[in-house]
Subunit: 414 residues, 2 copies
Amino acid sequence: MPKQTSHDREDDEDDENTFRILIATDCHLGYMEKDSERSDDSLNTFEEILQHARHQQADMILLGGDLFHENKPSRKSLHGCMALLRQYCMGDRPVQFEYLSDPSVNFSTNPFPVVNYADPNMNVEIPVFSIHGNHDDPAGLGNLCALDVLSVAGLVNYFGKSPSLEDVKISPVLLKKGRTKLALYGLGSIRDERLHRMFLQGKISMLRPKESSDAWFNMFVIHQNRAKHGEHNYIPEQFLDEFIDLVFWGHEHECLVDPVWNATQNFFISQPGSSIATSLSPGESKQKHIALLQVRGKEMKCNKIPLETVRQFYIEDVCLLDTELDPDDVHVEKKVEEFCAAKIDDLIAKAAGARSGSPKQPSLPLIRLRVDYSGGFSTFNVNRFGQRFVKKVANTRDLILFHKKREARTGQAE
Amino acid sequence: MPKQTSHDREDDEDDENTFRILIATDCHLGYMEKDSERSDDSLNTFEEILQHARHQQADMILLGGDLFHENKPSRKSLHGCMALLRQYCMGDRPVQFEYLSDPSVNFSTNPFPVVNYADPNMNVEIPVFSIHGNHDDPAGLGNLCALDVLSVAGLVNYFGKSPSLEDVKISPVLLKKGRTKLALYGLGSIRDERLHRMFLQGKISMLRPKESSDAWFNMFVIHQNRAKHGEHNYIPEQFLDEFIDLVFWGHEHECLVDPVWNATQNFFISQPGSSIATSLSPGESKQKHIALLQVRGKEMKCNKIPLETVRQFYIEDVCLLDTELDPDDVHVEKKVEEFCAAKIDDLIAKAAGARSGSPKQPSLPLIRLRVDYSGGFSTFNVNRFGQRFVKKVANTRDLILFHKKREARTGQAE
Ligand SMILES: [Mn+2]
Ligand SMILES: [Mn+2]
Ligand SMILES: [Mn+2]
Ligand SMILES: [Mn+2]
């Protein structure tokens, strides 16, 4: 039975008992950084997220993995991320919640096993907590990931890194604000097939606090396939423990941040989705959001916040057979090209009319036209075609995707 | 005329006017990190350096470049370095000197143009100042280097990064402790030929403080070839300004830390040398040191400190013609091999008798035998030969270097 929104506006003043958690995920810092037009997109929106956290007076920021697009981020991405975290997350405002669990368990692989705001040498105002994703997972000498670097700098509290992949016991980060107790479970990305098998073999266990375990609001942050890609290539929601109140699902890039009730499992799932489109698929074309999650006692409220700096992205499907175009027309190739150009012009106009109003939103949109050319039509050179849209769109090279026979196309999580 | 050691022991109590500067350079973090035996050497000695800084109650640490061996250090090196800096350089003891110059000039390329101990969000106890070397110079997107990453984390004050390579104006970091005024000039590594030409063209200028310029102790940190490698492939000492009191010369790996007076230029030069041997050359085989440099008024004292965790390294030259060995002996090959093995055993024994006593000094030494085999001798398979010394030396694969005709061999700076 839904427990959401059960504290209403009058109660909102009860600040001292309410966690204000800014949730965001899949920022993919560094994505397209070598593209002159799109180079700054990911950091640009990451900055917006941090600004929202400040503006919303968030107690903490919770990230769901894939903070970086590359396993070994460029210095520019790493440096840019660190600069923003230092700028927005450090400061004098005291952190309003207590950290109750054992940091040497929660942060066992960190040389400084301490929650960053408890380090007397760091002045942290908004602690960031994050698990790793599949893009920024631990690898190489020392089995470290980019979050380990941020963590040793005191800029992020990296949790959910399992010391073993044989038998995973997830110990929650236990936090308390006034009377509200929050148990934060995290599991960094593991290959889906493997994690699927581990769940089936009972090798994943969630440790619960010994005392008054019913009093905790239990949140679980994971970064896995939620959509079924093959028999074992995802994590079914029913694998997750029923004592959980809210699952924060990372990795899936479509924004489904409004919590969805799973009536079988008796928990909510919020999937914030990525803060940047890393593929030109329909899921990525929807408005991107983050959310301010408020937790008081066992109740929660999730207010979504539209991201205003995200580059606009419009996608449309056309099937040439459904148009006036005749494959046997001697001028058909030219006509198809003009038809597509007109469609793209429409999408550009649509984007122009729907700008967020933020001066930091990039001006050129991403456009994708998926053209079903079955029925005797032929394709044209999409690169040459794209040159017509230089300085009108951000992705001149892949505006058009030709395919045949109304083939099914679904977005893949990233 | 030498100004060194002119303050003697009785004066040593004059702490409030004396800068205590720990100088070290060329730590080459990450060197041989993939070698199972030598993997930790560079970080191990870097830790010793930081421990000396604490133990000596240094006001600051000054590094001369090549902190990292690779331009893109592995996560393990970067993470390890950051962990050590956080461990040893942060803390509550107040920094005893003032920062007087304009940080937006000294740290112009940093998004946080501030000396790290002045940042109210960081509790820095021993500020580290560093220029970059040729191994860790700025490159790639954003023209950043590894020191930029440390700098944005607030762990290092990266100076001497010139925004232009056309016309370099070096603005000093101006520091004051009691009555002592220290002007710290830095110039990160530039390709020697280029810098040589720039000096000749008058494109390098050192800006001096307007007021009471005679009162400053002027120190210049550079990272270039000091030894002449070809006509223009080094920086002659006479290129450097005469108002300088002390040149801190990085890049050259041989330890010549005791200040040497240049009577033409009227300045001292201290060349600390690397803290790890990155080549098996004679210069690298000498005892490695760092130093505690004390500056009071216009006087200085340089106390060298032997590094006790450096892996031992012994090198010897032999010329087979000078031995009893006969190239025409039918068993000569076997005999040469045994001769070399005996020499190496001697060097291993020599190393065993000369250990520093530190439990953190690695047990297996580096050994290099340079064998002149001219006069009809032949070589043998050094890889196979090296197998005899597994677990006796750290470098079984390159114990022996064969060469002919007493060829001159000099070490190259790194
Ligand atoms: Mn992912
Ligand atoms: Mn992702
Ligand atoms: Mn060098
Ligand atoms: Mn070097």
